[in-house]
């Protein structure tokens, strides 16, 4: 259950801070909060945010306070990049070319119900910065599986474990030929910040997918969010890379990849995993890194 207390890990600096009225709307240990905060801190006041239905939409705004200090709209689930397209062109028509139009969307709003609008805006190379905060579930509706769920994860809609396919959205976005694609993780804020800064200097469609764990859906104690995220990176399950102008670069290579078992065993969603299944995931990760220089 969401906690009524403010989360202790929330950075106090930056431009995304929950006013008291919104404190109860976010959960302790929510990975999306630092993802939003680092975004706000890095881009500053020159942006407007379109946020489709998601946890973030819920904890961003109330009638008596908002967490963002920039224009913000709580948008329809499936069409944030389309709305952002219109806003971008309106700003362009009004000569506000230096204002970033940013989508801050969850993985459902990105990879599933919002996928058509995402692909459409990318195909037109709209001058938009798109941030997908990926907690691998539809957490605004109690954590159902999405197409970015880690294979074999248990969720309310996959009680026997999610399927073996995970939609690799960053690669799909790179295949659109857009100028910038990157992955990031809240455990590696400098890497994330650097990618945001790079993206902010580019014109055209820019896509970042940030791993933002959810202690409730994933089933780990809320103070461990950053540790769990770090393990996702250090086991190699979540690869940090960027595709800048078509050039691929791994931005953080774990010195010695830790076994995925260490990451999986921390989380209740993988509690029923058999050793054979863990090995299958390990082989998948090994395979993914084989081609990486």
């Amino acid at each position: 259950m969401p906690s009524p207390q403010p989360i202790p890990t929330l950075p106090k600096s930056g431009r995304f801070t929950l006013p008291p009225v919104l404190m109860g709307t976010a959960c302790e240990g929510c990975g999306a909060l630092p993802a939003a905060d680092i975004l706000a801190e890095t881009l500053g006041a020159k942006m407007a945010v379109v946020c489709p239905a998601s946890c973030a939409a819920t904890f961003s705004l109330s009638y008596t306070g908002m967490a963002w200090r920039v224009p913000f709209v709580h948008w329809i689930f499936e069409s944030a990049p389309a709305a952002a397209t219109g806003l971008r062109h309106a700003y362009d028509a009004r000569g506000l070319k230096d204002v970033h139009v940013v989508c801050f969307a969850g993985d459902s709003g990105t990879a599933d119900i919002g996928f058509q609008a995402l692909s459409g805006a990318a195909s037109r190379n709209e001058n938009i910065l798109y941030i997908c905060y990926d907690n691998e579930v539809a957490m605004n509706t109690q954590g159902q599986a999405t197409s970015t769920s880690t294979p074999l994860a248990r969720t309310p809609t996959t009680p026997g474990g999610a399927g073996l396919l995970r939609k690799d959205v960053p690669r799909i976005m790179a295949a659109h030929g857009i100028p910038y694609v990157a992955t990031a993780a809240v455990s590696h804020p400098d890497d994330y910040r650097q990618k945001l800064r790079r993206a902010a200097r580019i014109t055209g469609f820019r896509y970042l997918q940030v791993l933002t764990p959810c202690p409730i859906a994933w089933g780990y104690p809320h103070p461990d969010t950053l540790d769990v995220t770090r393990l996702a990176v250090e086991t190699g399950l979540w690869m940090l890379y960027e595709v800048d102008g078509g050039k691929w670069r791994v931005s953080h290579r774990p010195k010695r990849r830790r076994p995925v078992r260490e990451y999986l065993s921390l989380q209740r969603r993988f509690a029923a995993l058999r050793p054979r299944e863990m090995q299958a995931l390990q082989r998948r990760v090994d395979g993914a890194w084989r081609g990486v220089r």
Binding site: K46, S62, Y63, V70, P71, G86, A90, A93, A117, R124
Partner: protein
């Protein structure tokens, strides 16, 4: 002040949009709106029309972008119909709830299944509860005039609602007629610069659409309702100002023919054109009948209609739409509007012209004459619609397998 040109409904729309100085056009092609899209692209490409034209990836995205652009403070246009309009449905509510003065052309086309590319009003009427002003046009001239009216109406601070003007697939969209086009500079002067509030403005930071508690939701909906009610005043006011400025015909909420109103045919869209001729021919033959065209369907002009129909004996509603399990839209609205009149007229509902089915002058003359003569003029009992020109042999009641299928 006006020059007559040969324009299709689609061309009249494209011209009106250019005259209105629209700034952003997010749009997605659909038959038969696509020819209009082509006109706009040509104007933009050839430098005649400086605007942000966005080739969207779907109809719902087009409406999402239209709203985004409106929230960004610009004058916006888009167009769709049939499947595309239904695909937009969710966003239509977003537009009205956000009080965006977007103007949209809807080229009325029947809804699949069965697949059709031809005219009826089921598309626009399916979204008639979405908080949009809806105006149904009779010809290309009315299309052009109405589009210009609506930018003025929608951006009026008393209204601030989106609007769609409707005209029919192929009957209007692809048929050329003489259209009097007003002088561009005079339109700019008359319409003025966009009065679109930028709700998403870096200079005035606001957060839009917070989760709304039950204590507030009703009031927002009531405010929309009040704006819609005020549109009943603003629409004819703007049309009158336009008529004054350009020597155009005055256009009210309704359009009623001269003469005795004992027997009145109520309809909208292109059927009004056919009915106009039927009524005129009947008058020449000594059968008095009148036509009442519903021009503005949302907000529905209840008071104006009651005034027109107060003395009538019989009313025939001609619906180019059907609501399975209910009645034609006009039949329901008209019956409801007449409730409480001291001596209300009989109302007979007729469904006609679905999926582009032709409706002829002689059919309408026959309808009116039968309705004028007999208290139960049609096969259908009171309260049940008469389906005009139905080939009953095709619908075998004993066969539940009447599906639109083909075999090799």
């Amino acid at each position: 002040m006006r020059t007559v040109e040969l324009l299709t409904g689609n061309q009249a729309t494209a011209r009106a949009v250019r005259l209105a100085g629209v700034q952003v056009i997010p749009i997605y092609p659909i038959t038969p709106q696509s020819a209009m899209l082509g006109e706009i692209v040509r104007d933009v490409e050839q430098g005649r029309f400086p605007c942000e034209f966005i080739n969207m990836e779907s109809d719902y995205a087009a409406m999402a972008a239209a709203i985004g652009a409106s929230l960004g403070g610009t004058r916006v246009f888009t167009a769709t119909n049939s499947q595309g309009l239904l695909f937009m449905a969710e966003h239509l509510y977003t537009a009205s709830g956000s009080r965006c003065p977007i103007v949209m052309a809807v080229v009325n086309r029947g809804i699949s299944v069965p697949h059709t590319r031809y005219a009826d009003h089921n598309d626009a009427l399916a979204v008639s509860r979405a908080g949009w002003i809806q105006v149904f046009c009779e010809d290309a001239q009315e299309v052009l005039d109405t589009c210009l009216h609506l930018y003025k109406v929608c951006e009026d601070p008393r209204v601030r609602l989106p609007a769609m003007f409707c005209y029919e697939s192929f009957i209007h969209s692809n048929t050329a007629e003489g259209v009097a086009v007003p002088d561009p500079e005079a339109v700019v002067r008359w319409l003025g610069p966009p009065r679109v509030e930028a709700l998403l403005d870096p200079a005035d930071v606001r957060g839009l659409n917070p989760p709304t508690p039950p204590e507030w939701y009703t009031e927002f909906k009531y405010a929309e309702q009040q704006a819609m009610t005020r549109a009943l005043t603003v629409l004819p006011e703007v049309a009158a100002a336009y008529a004054d400025a350009f020597g155009a015909p005055p256009r009210g909420l309704l359009d009623v023919t001269e003469g005795e109103r004992r027997c009145v045919l109520v309809t909208m869209g292109s059927l009004a054109k056919t009915a106009r001729r039927a009524v005129r021919e009947l008058a020449a033959e000594g059968v008095p009948a009148a036509l009442c065209k519903i021009r503005v369907y949302r907000p529905f002009p209840v008071e104006a209609l009651r005034e027109v129909l107060a003395g009538a004996e019989v009313v025939v509603t001609l619906d180019r739409n059907c609501a399975t399990g209910a009645h034609g839209a006009l039949y329901e609205e008209v019956r409801s509007a007449l409730y409480g009149l001291p001596r209300p007229p009989r109302v007979h509902g007729v469904i006609a012209g679905l999926g582009g089915r032709d409706v002829t002058v002689s059919q309408l003359k026959d309808l009116i004459q039968r309705a004028a003569r007999r208290s139960s003029p049609f096969d259908a009992p009171d309260g049940v619609a008469h389906w005009l020109g139905l080939t009953r042999d095709r619908v075998r009641d004993e066969s539940p397998q009447f599906h639109p299928v083909a075999r090799r």
